[in-house]
């Protein structure tokens, strides 16, 4: 069943590392209308940080490009976050998603970004075309709110 969309937002920002914090804060602030649990906010912030950092570090390794982000929230309290870039793309998505796999050598990258996203979100999907760019979609179902009133 397709869920009813109740709100959405779009953001575009340059891929400078200062924006890692901004992107997490923006998503966290937007989803606060669902009154999520602290753990849910923390999980989502961590996953967003991984996705946006990958764009900054990998998609545009030696230039500043655009990061496109879209967040949708649905009536069933699910949250869907799309992070898209027009960067280098991913040659082998399956390989890229393997824990400890990283194409970056110069930094202390753990190769665990996808592992974090997969464990903190309900669903992680990646579409990518080499030289064209990558679209990452993160989905999480928030818990039903207990109503005391």
């Amino acid at each position: 069943m397709k869920q009813r969309l109740i709100n959405r937002m779009k953001l575009t920002f340059p891929s400078c590392s200062e924006n890692e914090r901004f992107s997490r804060a923006a998503v966290s602030s937007f989803i606060s209308q669902l009154d999520p649990l602290i753990d849910e906010i923390s999980d989502i912030k961590t996953a967003v940080s991984e996705g946006v950092t990958n764009v900054i570090v990998h998609a545009y390794p030696d230039r500043i490009g655009e990061v496109f982000m879209e967040v949708k929230i649905f009536a069933d309290r699910s949250v869907r976050i799309k992070i898209r870039d027009k960067g280098c793309g991913i040659e082998n998505i399956e390989k890229a998603m393997e824990p400890m796999f990283s194409t970056s050598h110069d930094e202390e990258r753990a190769g665990l970004g996808f592992a974090v996203m997969q464990s903190f979100m309900d669903k992680v999907s990646v579409r990518s075309i080499p030289e064209k760019g990558t679209t990452l979609i993160l989905t999480k179902q928030l818990k039903e709110k207990e109503r005391y009133e």
Binding site: E20, R21, T46, T53, I56, A110, G113, A115
Partner: protein
């Protein structure tokens, strides 16, 4: 935010990391810790996460890197002040099986004295007033 480095007798460095640990901030934190490690050549590096407000997998890289560096020197790393959401990230990496995560390090530090520059200055200032 700056990492607070405390130097103790007994070859201990105690680093209090503050604020968010992400790809943007990790480099600065790493530089501060590595500078202290190369200057003081400790046998034990304690990383305190109690003032950390956010951490993604960049924190794993940070700890893995320091762990490798310290074990190469024959030293050890202990993590402390690790809140639940940070522990969750560490557990994914298995780093929690490589380094000790201690709730309380006061026993390790008891009997040791701080010998860093700030303290030295404070002590000489105090000495003057007597």
């Amino acid at each position: 935010m700056d990492t607070e480095i405390r130097i103790y007798t007994g070859g201990i460095i105690y680093a209090v990391i503050s604020g968010d640990i992400d790809h943007h901030t990790a480099k600065g934190i790493r530089t501060d810790i590595d500078k202290a490690v190369s200057e003081h050549d400790p046998g034990l590096l304690i990383l305190d996460f109690s003032r950390v407000t956010f951490m993604d997998s960049s924190g794993i890289g940070l700890v893995m890197g320091r762990y490798r560096q310290m074990t190469d020197r024959g030293g050890e790393v202990i993590l402390t002040g690790v809140a639940g959401y940070i522990r969750k990230v560490f557990q994914l990496s298995g780093i929690d099986r490589l380094t000790k995560i201690a709730d309380d390090v006061s026993r390790i530090l008891s009997g040791e004295n701080r010998i860093d520059e700030d303290i030295k200055e404070e002590m000489t200032d105090e000495a003057k007033t007597y």
